[in-house]
Symmetry: C2
């Protein structure tokens, strides 16, 4: 067999061996996809095993992440920092070869992929970022940003709505440098894909405005390469349909669902190696295969070196661009930003979504790589960057992205954009619709991506649109997520702090904002960086701690005054971000909420659950424990008890209980 | 103008008046859709205003629920129990005309619609249910179940992934009695739909295997009717594309995004009425319009009466079917089910997903209308009804539905099936993928639909698949949702109770199940109906309360024995369902968790947040507050502290703290 075939078979046997040794994993997809992986990594893709983080590398997304053994085999063979020991520790604690690819963990992995379909949307995000940065930085003769984005997906991805959302937008935006390979193996876990998907996928992608190539044989690496080259000539995004056999090479499992998610079995692996003409050894790689791919790696490394040279010449020719380049790609904030008091200028009562709008304008003027958009709610979410232009096929410099009514893909694309480097990304929708994109937010958190989620219309304060549009349990759900900051500011000053925190933290942040006006407080600015703080203290030792976030701070401030009349001295604590407060040292936490002080009342127009950590068994929470209804916001806030009067009543009971 | 036109204009002016009076709402879509609404309600649809719950009525879903004024105007004009007062109280507290249609609230509304796209999936669920029930009950000459499912959707629905998922399955399943009207008005909130969606939707639906009719003019009610009749002749599901003008009739707003989500303005409404040749009066309906639609209503009522007659004759001809019919449509459980001890027979250690599988077999044998399936994970979720057959275009009697890798649409379709009546529905996926369908679960809860969600692989116990597949914050997020029971059983006995609870409660239930084996306990059966109970009490007065759910009950049971050695007397409380426990009376709650007894330790391989309500400020929670990793389950459970040893250490500290 020739060296290509031998290499492809080596990928197959490595994948089978990895799963067999781990006694866990998915051998079938890597075996069927080995020719595609080979065509991409050995020939099509510009990448540098010596410098996996090369800015202008082609990006690669394995959207069917369960096929991770494919990418691990390739990265190892090409000389990435992924030893044979790592392949042999597949799916084991501490290895660089986890069950699904993890970005930031394994060198050469461009995104973490878990739940199906999102990887395709990540790839669309990469492709959007490439066009934006190319438009910004490239100059005649200096294509300093000029790369493709490749993705592989399977039947599962094709069935997932998030994938459909993303590829529809990719077609609309004519993202010609996105190339998607569809592993059309006809098998899903429950059996033939026919039982659940009889559609004509090629035709569907044509409807989206994609260029479609359907190969006769997905095992033909030369044909795949030809299709990729053809795709590069087309201005549209390209889909290459590669009909493959799951578990290719293993006679007992080929084309069967049982090849998907369990080891092939020792005897089947041995038989497969005989059938493919490969030696019986576990984890066998012949020297000529290593050498063959070392050449490919060297070619890639040289491309990277040539690009570094191009970049040097670019900076010499366009010296003004160097600082900009560095600022964009280092994602550094302007140095004086943190101390700029003008950012905190919100003297009047305003809806926090409007405060956020003002912040976007103030920040966009100083952070030129801040881009983003909404899932078709920009006029309501207040997210338009004035004068920023609309991003489109015709205007790659536009800073306002029209994601369409596609929340899930929006968030997954934002992840791709943030992963690409060079951009600071926000995205936006109504808070209740965050449900649709929740798992993509989880992926932001897992990858520590500083995506900013602007989530407006944050409670029953939504009013007339009714319970389907009124968030209730959403604050609890997001606050329970590791690695995510959930900021619910009480006024403009806290909104400013929330934005600055979002820009500073290496993790995603949600800005949970009101539709309705909120007062402007004194002392409510930078204190918010500590997550919770005494907004208005009791005059003496407090009789009760009143705590709230966002729109419920106002009734508690009012309650404090009402309490005074009956001689109760209340401390009002604003809690804009529980995650930040929980990170503070004990001394600060005890100062804000003295441990012995058990008369505590929290109020939030959402589920009570997040507050019990502060109110304990002796305090009380005024919260929403049911769905709201369609009526004007003022009526609802009154009806469900988010008033000063109700706070006083509940507070008096808490004080009584703690005295008795 | 003729009576049809006059009626259509009346719908338009009513919608404009409703929004104007409410000073809130969405006038544009109802005005553009008035001809379609008229064609459906006055001519195409079989429905009975006198008996809105008629079992064999055609179902109707307004997937773009913001166009609710359309349906309210129609329901009023056709004589449903929806008075003019209600139209005039649009979006006000306590009215029958909330901002988005709410099933169970407004007579004639078949489903609640909120977030876009789900309505289309609800409709697919209706259509699936119709085929199942028709196959079950119809006999030659007795088409007792024989109706269409109509849906209207807008551009937003078309962009949402959940819609794409559902229509792909509808094509695969050849649901020929589903007819979808697409309000192609070319406008979204941010402007022309072109900015975010340039795809050829007709072609896309052809790719899904749909019959597609594209009308020249969506304002032509006769053409719409013709298209509907044509659609009925086609064995495939049908899409009718109706190009409309948003805000039709209002010169100042027609075709503009500003017609979407705000009142037209008093002067614009007046000008519109002049332009349409309608009187200037608010909420004007002429007598002849009422009379015209009264005729349509009468025809519908007569159809229902004829069907009642058919059903009587059917029961006479097939007397055996009467009990079955009643059992299916009343959704009554077999009377002796609750007392059947055999259901609780789980003597051995087993994964709770396997226990659930056994329950499915035991229950499916006795509840013939129990149907369901998985999002392509049936072999892992263990949800196959043995001998139940596969539901498909060829076998409408199949009880196992292959939803494909489409979690979001699956849940929304399950909602439609449950709404239809006649079926008990479960659906299933890995717990972490519940993220994708979270909002559809919310809609189950809001509509009080007893959909059963079987969510397996419930923690880091997933093991090697890694953090993307390991739920962490999911228990908190779902427990915070109103109206949803979240059951995480500790063994087979509790799994049996969870299933029976799910079948008995008029609300959705999640069954959160393990991949790994769990022990079988004594005393763990029906006690679970109280949500939490003393599984193993201390010998005397307890020194500490140990509480957990699911897989973490085992390490606490072991910890209880370890504690004994150091003279600590621990009570173990199993907490399979917090919602049920929180519903119990104070006396029971205090018996299980005595209020003075503050030394409390909870353990759960998920976020700590839900437990603070029980542990307070003096207790402690062993929980997951970070993402997991890819490694064998045993390693992970040990590493993250879900062991008896760790419980003892943490428990000793809690005891010390409470003594000190």
């Amino acid at each position: 067999m020739d060296i290509s075939e031998k290499t492809i078979h080596t990928i197959r046997t490595l994948a089978a061996d990895m799963v067999q040794k781990a006694n866990s994993g998915h051998p079938g997809a890597p075996m069927g996809l080995a020719p595609a992986g080979y065509a991409l990594y050995a020939h099509a893709m510009n990448h540098s095993p010596a410098h996996p983080e090369w800015l202008n590398r082609d990006r690669f997304v394995l959207s069917n992440g369960h096929a991770g053994a494919l990418i691990y085999a390739l990265l190892h063979l090409l000389g990435y920092r992924l030893s044979m020991d790592e392949l042999q520790s597949f799916r084991q604690a501490g290895s660089l070869t986890p069950g699904h690819p993890e970005q930031g963990h394994t060198p050469g992995v461009d995104t973490s992929t878990g739940p199906l379909g999102q990887g395709v949307a990540n790839a669309v995000g990469f492709a959007i970022a490439e066009t934006m940065l190319a438009a910004k930085f490239n100059r005649p003769g200096f294509p300093v940003i000029d790369h493709y984005t490749y993705a592989i997906c399977g039947d599962g991805c094709m069935m997932e709505g998030v994938c459909a959302e993303a590829v529809s937008l990719a077609g609309t935006l004519a993202l010609g440098k996105m190339i998607l390979l569809y592993d059309d193996n006809g098998i899903s876990i429950e059996g033939s894909t026919d039982i659940a998907m009889k559609e004509d996928i090629g035709l569907r992608f044509q409807a989206y405005g994609w260029h479609v190539v359907t190969l006769k044989d997905g095992q033909d690496d030369t044909a795949i390469l030809q299709a990729i080259n053809e795709a590069k000539q087309d201005a549209r995004p390209s889909l290459i349909i590669t009909p493959t056999l799951i578990g290719y090479g293993c006679e007992q499992k080929e084309g069967k669902a049982s090849a998907h998610g369990e080891p092939l079995g020792k005897e089947n692996v041995a038989a497969m190696k005989r059938r493919l003409g490969m030696p019986p050894d576990d984890f066998y790689v012949s020297d000529d295969v290593y050498q063959h791919l070392a050449q490919a790696a060297q070619a890639g490394n040289q491309k990277e070196a040539a690009w570094q040279d191009l970049l040097c010449r670019y900076f010499k020719t366009y010296p003004d661009m160097k600082d900009e380049w560095n600022a964009w790609f280092a994602c550094e904030l302007p140095k004086d930003l943190a101390d700029d008091e003008a950012l905190y200028d919100f003297p009047k009562a305003m809806a926090t979504r409007i405060c956020s709008y003002e912040m976007i304008q103030r920040l966009a003027a100083r952070i030129p790589n801040l881009v983003g958009g909404s899932a078709d709610l920009a006029p309501s979410n207040k997210t338009t960057i004035n004068g920023g232009g609309d991003y489109s096929a015709e205007n790659r410099l536009g800073r306002n992205i029209h994601f369409g009514v596609r929340e899930h893909a929006m968030a997954a694309m934002a992840n791709g954009m943030a992963l690409h480097g060079g951009l600071r990304v926000f995205c936006s929708t109504f808070f209740v619709f965050s449900d649709y994109m929740k798992n993509a937010m989880r992926m932001s958190a897992m990858m520590k991506l500083p995506v900013i989620y602007i989530l407006t219309h944050d409670s029953i304060g939504v009013g007339e649109d009714g319970p389907t549009h009124q968030p209730v349990e959403h604050l609890a759900g997001l606050r329970a997520m590791p690695g995510l900051d959930v900021f619910r500011p009480a006024d403009g000053h806290e909104t400013a702090a929330a934005w600055l925190s979002a820009l500073n933290r290496r993790r995603p942040t949600c800005l949970i904002l009101t539709r309705q006006d909120l007062p402007s407080y004194t002392g409510s600015g930078k204190a918010a960086f500590r997550g919770a703080y005494i907004l208005k203290d009791s005059d003496g030792a407090p009789d009760i701690l009143l705590m709230a976030s966002g729109s419920e701070v106002a009734p508690l401030m009012e309650a404090r005054e009402l309490f005074k009349i009956s001689g109760v001295d209340a401390r009002v604590i604003s809690v804009p971000c529980m995650e930040l407060f929980n990170e503070q040292d004990e001394a600060y936490k005890h100062q804000v909420m003295p441990p012995h002080m058990r008369a505590r009342l929290a109020m939030e127009a959402g589920s009570a659950m997040p507050w019990y950590q502060y109110t304990g068994l002796d305090g009380s929470v005024i919260a929403m424990e049911e769905f709201g209804q369609s009526a004007p916001a003022g009526f609802l806030l009154e009806k469900y008890g988010f008033t000063a009067g109700h706070a006083v009543k509940a507070g008096e009971q808490v004080i009584k209980k703690n005295r008795g």
